[in-house]
């Protein structure tokens, strides 16, 4: 019961933060709220037993992203214009997508059901056999690095691609950047 209460409270905070984000117009505030959002998400991950994910989400969502966002804002602009576009079509798209999603959830097993198909097939194998086969206490690590090690190789490649990409896109100095800078000061 206590867990449910914690979940629900975290959820309402998450939803409130997301809704607050929709109407914020100062980029700095948006970034800070996004940081808080991922902090809340990470707390939710802890309550859902995904400690590794919480660890990563905290490091990435609240740490790296925040620094990146700040760096971007420092290089671009501080605010965003209030939206003037009609919002009916986007709203409709969102509602339809959400409706399909909810329609899809209707046949799902209950939250936390230990007999759900997702828990009994492959996952059960990992939990029972990894002690014998890999002998590492953290099952997440053994799946990540060994059973699905190739996915992780792909993940590292994605990160590498992002690094290469960022270098390609913004590591070269813009031609007049320095000069203009001196004029400014």
């Amino acid at each position: 019961m206590a867990e449910t209460i914690i979940n629900v409270v975290l959820f309402s905070m998450l939803v409130l933060t997301a809704l607050a984000l929709v109407r914020m117009e100062r980029l700095f505030t948006i970034v800070m709220l996004a940081g808080v959002f991922s902090l809340l998400a990470a707390m939710l991950f802890v309550t859902l037993d995904a400690v590794d994910v919480a660890f990563t989400e905290a490091a990435v969502g609240a740490g790296v992203s925040t620094v990146l966002y700040l760096g971007t804002i420092a290089l671009t602009a501080r605010g965003c214009k209030p939206s003037v576009r009609p919002s009916t079509v986007p709203l409709l798209v969102c509602i339809i997508t959400g409706a399909v999603l909810i329609w899809g959830t209707l046949d799902m097993p209950n939250f936390g059901d230990a007999e759900a198909p997702a828990e009994v097939h492959v996952a059960q194998y990992y939990l029972t056999e990894s002690v014998k086969e890999i002998d590492v206490p953290n099952v997440v690590t053994s799946i990540l690095a060994s059973y699905r090690g190739f996915d992780t190789l792909g993940e590292v490649a994605v990160i590498f691609a992002a690094g290469v990409g960022v270098l390609l896109i913004i590591s070269r100095m813009p031609g007049q950047g320095r000069r203009k800078d001196k004029e400014d000061s």
Partner: protein
């Protein structure tokens, strides 16, 4: 089971057993190697070597799977569904061959065009990205694991965003189209992930064959149907199915020439392959839900793409953008083949995948050469270049004819198959529609040819023929267009085997592999 106790008596694997993974691994390693060495002059040779090795692997794989068998490779030695499985049957081998062959053919062209369009300092990183893009596409095609598809899809997509943005050295609009591409691509990928999550929830596994097995026993399950919808829409964004195509014209138009060639010839094809794989091997519509749903969803969109995109292409004044819209239209034909849902239709899709790929490769390479010499692809800038650049313009002619589907070119074969499939279903009006949309293609191709050959040369233009590094690959692709127009044995045979495998549903993804390369499992 895998690992554990039986590993003591492990049966050593030969190098040939590793082919499925080497196929992806060699270009994969080329990327970090180029960055690690950091020598600019070595980047291109490394990339080239990776592409060629990959092509060799795919040729061997193709030959091994032509008899309808398939090869299963257990990464990490873990038997599926516990580990990730690489599974090559005729369908993937065909697309693998297509991708790696395109990569090899465009490599010399890439060298020439990159030298002209990208600052020297960035070459190493550029080739690394290029190789990562190819790796991602190969990985998407070869894998038999649903989540692994997502990971490799993102490798190729992320590098594709970067590659497109490199067009900003010529036109700043490359940045905004790259951003739009990133946004839509990520939304598509996230939809795909949602779909896989739903599938996992309903089946408890991520291995495609295993999912197919478990879906077949479930009957009518809303979770699975929603999963199908999300995977289809997510992939539709990557394929650029007509109403979801918005990123494509800009991305093709403003990307560096070499990147456009790569994306047009391979990226959407790999995405279509994923759609095929999921629709037929994983979901198996005849088991999961009414196949009529497919007819009513896919065919209208296909027709919309064929006509709307062709019509837009007719009115373009920019060669590259015209080709982009024509690509969207041609994607419509492939979808139509899927929508027919019979052997001929699927064969037509597979053949068209290949034929359109080489056609577009030839055309976009020609465009690259025109850009190199004239600086722009607007019709009034390339006017009359048929005289000053006869080799390049001849390629445009061949490619254009193949695009229309004139007999004797590759494009004819696939359209003929498509018409045949329509007749098999008794839909003669559909055949008429296919012919009608080909007439639109006649118009837009004619406009280009008119400009190239009949127009006066723009004043003061001193154009030379394209350099050999460009003309060579271009002609290879153009001759392939003609070759596969006459000799259809390889393409049709491979496509038919592939389509058969796909249509046989569960049989194509049977849990027991015929040629296991997984050691003693």
């Amino acid at each position: 089971m895998a690992g554990g106790t039986e590993a003591v008596a492990h049966q050593a694997l030969e190098m040939t057993d590793h082919l499925p993974v080497l196929q992806v691994l060699i270009p994969f390693i080329a990327a970090p190697l180029a960055v690690f060495l950091g020598v600019r002059s070595l980047a291109w040779p490394i990339a080239c070597a990776g592409a060629i090795a990959s092509l060799v692997c795919s040729v061997v794989l193709m030959l091994a799977t032509l008899d309808g068998s398939f090869i299963s490779y257990h990464l990490g030695g873990w038997a599926p569904p516990y580990g990730i499985e690489y599974r090559v049957d005729a369908a993937n081998a065909f697309v693998l061959l297509l991708i790696s062959a395109t990569a090899v053919v465009v490599m010399p062209f890439t060298k020439a065009s990159v030298d002209a369009e990208i600052p020297k300092k960035d070459h190493t990183l550029f080739y690394a990205c290029f190789m990562l893009c190819i790796t991602g596409l190969l990985g998407v095609v070869v894998t038999g694991d649903a989540f692994n598809v997502f990971v490799f899809l993102e490798i190729s997509s992320l590098s594709a965003y970067v590659l497109v943005s490199q067009g900003s050295h010529r036109d700043r609009r490359a940045l905004t189209v790259a951003y739009d591409y990133l946004l839509m691509g990520t939304i598509g990928a996230t939809f795909f992930v949602i779909g896989i999550g739903f599938l996992y929830m309903a089946t408890g596994t991520l291995n495609m064959a295993d999912i197919a097995d478990r879906i077949a026993g479930q009957g009518d399950n809303r979770t699975i149907q929603a999963a199908f919808a999300f995977i289809l829409v997510g992939m539709g964004l990557k394929v650029a199915i007509y109403p979801l195509h918005l990123w494509l014209p800009g991305a093709y138009n403003y990307a560096p020439s070499a990147v456009t060639v790569l994306l047009a010839a391979t990226a959407t094809k790999a995405a279509i392959y994923v759609v095929l794989r999921f629709t037929f091997s994983v979901f198996q519509p005849e088991f999961t839900f009414d196949t009529n749903v497919l007819y009513w969803i896919i065919i209208p969109f296909a027709l919309l793409a064929m006509f709307a995109a062709s019509l837009i292409a007719v009115f373009q004044t920019n060669f590259k953008r015209m080709l982009a819209y024509s690509s969207i239209a041609q994607i419509g034909y492939m979808l139509l083949g899927i929508g027919f849902f019979n052997l001929s239709g699927l064969t037509a899709t597979m053949v068209h995948l290949f034929n359109h790929s080489i056609t577009k490769a030839a055309l976009f390479m020609a465009v690259g050469a025109l850009v190199l010499r004239s600086g722009s692809t607007f019709y009034d800038r390339i006017r009359g270049m048929g005289k000053s650049m006869p080799l390049t313009s001849a390629v445009v002619v061949i490619g254009g004819l193949s695009l229309i589907g004139i007999p004797g070119t590759a494009g004819f074969v696939s359209k003929w198959m498509l018409v045949q499939a329509a007749f098999e279903l008794g839909w003669w009006w559909m055949a008429l529609l296919i012919v009608a949309s080909s007439l639109l293609a006649v118009i837009y191709v004619w406009r280009v040819l008119e400009v190239l050959y009949l127009g006066d040369t723009a004043e003061g233009a001193q154009h030379k023929e394209a350099p050999m590094m460009m003309a060579g690959p271009m002609w290879v692709a153009a001759l392939a267009c003609i070759w596969f127009g006459f000799d259809t044995s390889l393409t049709l045979e491979a496509s038919r085997v592939a389509a058969n495998g796909l249509l046989s549903g569960n049989a194509g993804m049977a849990p027991v592999p015929t040629t296991a390369a997984g050691g003693g499992h």
